[in-house]
């Protein structure tokens, strides 16, 4: 059970982010929701690579320990974090532009394209 706890945390975080995206009206809060989803995904990748009692996956510093955590998910996570950073920055800049054009951050009022 305790071994599955990180996965439950990932699921809960993902749902919190999803709820934020679906329920909130403020664009900044929606962007935060996307950020939480990205964090949940990164955490999921890290948790996948964890081995109980493992050490850092660097050969020279490993010392006597036999088990190491998997290095690949950490590389994946680093890449995913960089991508998440880029998208967050882009999304916030789009929100600034939306605020300039529409004068509001309420998502209900930003619906000029429809039908």
């Amino acid at each position: 059970m305790i071994g599955n706890l990180p996965f439950i945390v990932v699921g809960v975080l993902f749902l919190i982010g999803l709820m934020a995206v679906l329920m909130e009206k403020n664009l900044i809060k929606i962007a935060i929701g996307i950020g939480i989803i990205e964090a949940a995904t990164n955490l999921f990748l890290i948790v996948l690579g964890y081995r109980t009692g493992g050490s850092i996956p660097v050969y020279t510093f490993a010392g006597e320990v036999k088990t190491m955590v998997l290095p690949t998910p950490q590389a994946l996570t680093l890449t995913a974090i960089v991508i998440a950073l880029a998208t967050s920055a882009f999304m916030l800049s789009l929100i600034i532009l939306l605020y300039r054009h529409y004068g509001t951050l309420n998502v209900d009022e930003i619906r000029r394209l429809r039908g």
Binding site: V21, I30, D108, R111, L113, R114, G115
Partner: protein, 113 residues
């Protein structure tokens, strides 16, 4: 033949179609060339028929706008289009909601069935 595309139920042959098209357009153009040319130039017979009214100078006045195209189609299917257009609400949260909804439905179909 080398130029036939077999579909398993029939075939498609582009060159036979082009030959047919050439023959058909020859006859069409011939029939069109038979039209009358004894109308009087410079009179009202030269103009388009606009219910007897003066033909406007600007083409704007005698154009059917795109909004009016298929008016009857839209009118007949008004209840259907009301639902369909209201789905495209322009509300971004709805759009995310549809993605989540479809993912949920497919998950239920694949994992539970």
């Amino acid at each position: 033949m080398w130029y036939k595309v077999m579909t398993g139920f029939g075939y498609w042959d582009v060159y036979a179609w082009l030959i047919f098209l050439a023959i058909a357009s020859f006859f069409t153009l011939w029939l069109r060339g038979l039209g009358r040319d004894d109308y009087k130039e410079g009179t009202y017979q030269d103009e388009i028929y606009f219910s007897g009214n003066d033909v406007p100078e600007d083409g704007e006045g005698i154009t059917v706008p795109a909004d009016s195209a298929y008016w009857g189609f839209k009118k007949a299917l008004a209840p259907y289009y009301k639902v369909l257009v209201s789905m495209h609400s322009g509300h971004v949260i709805d759009y995310v909601g549809y993605l989540v909804l479809v993912t949920g439905i497919i998950t239920a179909l694949i994992v539970l069935v």
